[in-house]
Symmetry: none
Subunit: 539 residues, 2 copies
């Protein structure tokens, strides 16, 4: 039987310390669902003692009924010279009602003196009291030994004393943190092995990527006996980020035969990585290991011809194992398994040999080439499939729009849109104001449509994101607009791509409205629902 | 005396296999100069047997009179069943007149059968003949053993035979390649040690990043006895890229006391990394280890207050050693200590008790409450601080703008902007087209300003991001626009928040232009310039 390594995800806590990353409570809820489906064992949701947004998350995450992951709240050991019962930060952890507490304390004598400015003895008491207090309240306690490696290098004796205190107080895990990210794999390996000798509690590793060694350090720790890895999706996190779970998990599982998640869950890794980067509005580098769109893309001519003979000549794993795909000159039936799945969901007989299917695959390939991405836009994909199979009647078409934005010095700006639609053969012409061009356009489109389709009153837009696709040409570059819409039951996403942000927005808006008009026929995957994959080829 | 590790840069060859990377001969010349100044030992300029652009580079690079680096040309061993004298690919290496040849051959029996389809014996002859031929023509020969680790794992005996053949033929270096990037550090370590036993020629390592372990594998190989590392600036390269020299070099030099380049050369690392990414037109991730703009950026409030006491509390090295700098991100998580730091950097006497400081704190708090976020927008923050301290004259003000977007059915849309500015007391009125409203506005603003400030011709926009702040109100919600601009030396970011995406964009655009006009007074990191830091504490 494979050795099990528990995955502790801190995308929602340490991940949000990364530059440019800011997640709303709603974003965090969505990501938590994905993480749960991926099969991580712990989801660190935030620091309730530090901000109220995190408290709201802990309250609301209970609604999700996660299947697999335990939710944990982060905090520090008690303040110096106080009682744990009077420590607001510890009490907040209890108040938010999580089953697991993750608290950090100081391992490095230098930090005890410089950062918290107390005695070595009082620091030991702070650790003991805090762990004890949380344990006595019935929580599972993960003790994060901050700066453990630096502390151990500086004063091994004291560093070991701190974690022995946590053990003595009943901690369920001791996690060794390379907080500054400055340690090398051989050091991590030696120190984890030494710790394994000194304590009998299970050990975890929390690595950062400041030396571009976050993944290597995590792997080294596991090989030396750690059985929990803390990290984030895509390696988001403070400074250079945390250990990237999207590389740690496949390395442990596919290369070293540890068991972290199931084989089926591992096949969702690429989609989780892309989903999280979309939600966080961060670029996913194309060359990211395992999950990047170029991770199995072959450019060199020699490579391509060898790959066509046998993929393992230039691929270290079968990309399907992590839900990614090979890309060669002729992009191989991009995303076809998703298409097959989607078409089956619609009750269509999707067959590679029929003409509609072939045309659809060509159309989607071409759109992906232009910058479309359907991972975050299921509704647009569904509309394309329905159109290809003639399953969708044209309920309205856009004939023209005009938008005017005017601003004078210190006055508020005025934005107006004029729209001309053909609805069921009738020309409908209307105008509306808005807080911006997209809002004005949205308002004008609805004004035209609601008299024919009153059910559109129930839908509204949830989220609107713009991403520049080609950074070379600055504001003249192509943009991809993602729009998320909702009525009371369902949430769906649509995408538009254009050199003009207004056109891209208009395309996504129109898809969103068309999708709403499908009514009960819609199949969009609900949040929290598992998606099955079809047609994986192993090699 | 420190052990010397030779750095072999293949940015100009393997680096250009990365998706989206394409370098002109001119680009390659510029990069070669930077690499030479950085102190790399070898610059692999291309594959003269594979394309003519590379031949032109080898002809022209001689004009540069590089001081330090040897230029090398890449190629394969001879074709099967031919003589080396008749092999065009080998002869091209001789013709381009380089002092060093780098040729690759097969180490993996599977590849001999599947990819080049010959006998194991003939492959050994191909290696011997090719190395011998180049040596007999007076070249230094680096033998790249392709797929060495996979080959060794599959058939160690044969893999060793191939490199022994290269040694026997007089190769000066044997470089073990993890071509598919699938090996782990402990494997690399063991195999390099075994090879050290088997041959006496110096050994090199060529790693790829498919497991996010390219740097770790390079470091492991050096610790096991390799004395040459092949890699690329920023880890550019096929699929997930090559080992990133911008991490390999500081790890070897600062952490393990090997000598690769001089301490002064190492201080240019950040500027080289940014320069190469500019030339290659690739986005340099802010969180890239050592050289990214967030590599020493602190967001968490606890970290910031500790950093102010002593930087080594949360920094693994002094950023100046690699030419980078500490940054404190101002965000709601952090609070006031971040602002103090920022002001100190500007040489301002920031005092919580003086009125300007108090007003500024209030203003920033209010703006953050409205949805501003300064952690991704250093330049806007700097302008606010300068304004508060009266350090900045008003060079222009916006009087009005009007934007018109019109679209008819299947025709391309038309976007126009009309702008009225007051520049140094003069009214300037102008109009421009664009691919979208922001592009049109940007074009019109510049048309007004360049006649007064011609230096603005050198700046352009790098990236543009829009984020909806309050998802409840759909397209009527507030949006935050982040704009990244560059003038080749420097990169800076600005932010705007409004209910109207155009107004938010306009605010960010204007800040971007105002910041550009600060010229030499800006504090953002300059590329290629060593910055003086205010209040830097060495550690």
């Amino acid at each position: 039987m494979a050795n099990i390594v528990k995955i502790f995800d801190t995308t929602l806590r340490d991940g949000t310390q990364g530059e440019g990353i800011s997640l709303s409570v709603e974003d965090k809820m969505k990501i938590a669902l994905k993480l749960d489906a991926l099969g991580v064992h712990y989801i660190e949701g935030g620091w309730p003692g530090s901000n109220n947004k995190d408290i709201e998350f802990f309250n609301r995450v209970k609604e999700l009924n996660l299947q697999h992951a335990k939710v944990t709240a982060f905090g520090s050991t008690r303040r110096k010279d106080t009682l744990p019962e009077q420590d607001a930060n510890l009490n907040r952890i209890l108040e938010v009602g999580v089953p697991v507490a993750t608290i950090f304390g100081k391992s490095w004598d230098f930090h005890v003196h410089k950062a918290i400015q107390t005695t070595l003895e009082e620091n030991l008491n702070m650790i003991y009291d805090s762990v004890r207090y949380l344990k006595s309240n019935g929580l599972e306690v993960i003790y994060d030994a901050e700066h453990f490696f630096d502390g151990y290098k500086n004063n091994a004796d004291y560093a070991l004393k701190t974690i022995k205190k946590a053990e003595e107080a009943g901690a369920d895990w001791i996690v060794l943190c390379d907080t500054n990210g400055g340690s090398l794999p051989h050091e991590v390996s030696e120190i984890v092995a030494a710790v394994k000798q000194a304590v009998s509690v299970p050990i975890g590793i929390h690595a950062h990527n400041d030396c571009e060694l976050g993944v290597a350090n995590s792997v080294a720790a596991v090989m030396a006996g750690a059985t929990q890895v803390q990290g984030t999706i895509n390696g988001f996190g403070e400074r250079c980020g945390n250990a990237n779970l999207c590389s740690v998990i496949p390395n442990l599982q596919l290369k070293l035969n540890y068991e972290c998640v199931s084989a089926e869950q591992l096949e969702t890794l690429t989609s989780v990585a892309r989903y999280v980067s979309e939600i966080a509005n961060m670029h996913l580098p194309v060359n990211q290991a395992f999950v990047g769109s170029a991770a199995f893309a072959h450019k060199g001519g020699i490579h391509v011809s060898a790959i066509l003979r046998n993929p393992s000549t230039y691929e270290h794993i079968a990309p399907e194992l992590v839900g990614n795909k090979q890309r060669v000159l002729v992009s191989e039936l991009a995303g076809q398994s998703n298409l097959v799945f989607k078409a089956q969901e619609l009750g269509l007989d999707f067959d590679n040999n029929n003409q509609q299917s072939r045309q659809l695959i060509e159309q989607i390939k071409e759109m992906e080439h232009q910058g479309y991405q359907f991972e975050g836009a299921d509704a647009t994909l569904e509309l394309l499939i329905r159109d290809a199979y003639g399953q969708q009647e044209e309920l309205f078409t856009l004939e023209s729009f005009k938008i005017l934005v005017a601003k004078h010095a210190n006055q508020a700006s005025v934005t107006e849109a004029i729209v001309k639609l053909n609805v069921n053969g009738q020309t409908v012409y209307n105008a509306a104001e808005g807080n911006g061009p997209v809002n004005a356009l949205d308002n004008a489109l609805r004004k035209c449509l609601v008299e024919y389709y009153p059910e559109l009153r129930n839908m509204h837009l949830n989220d609107y994101k713009v991403r520049v696709l080609d950074e070379k040409d600055n504001t003249a570059a192509k943009v991809r607009v993602l729009i998320e819409s909702t009525d009371f039951d369902t949430t769906w996403s649509t995408v538009g791509v254009s050199g003009n942000v207004i056109e891209a927005s208009c395309d996504a808006l129109i898809d969103s409205l068309r999708y709403a008009l499908l009514g009960k026929e819609r199949t969009t995957i609900q949040i929290g629902e598992q998606r099955e994959r079809v047609g994986v080829v192993n090699h």
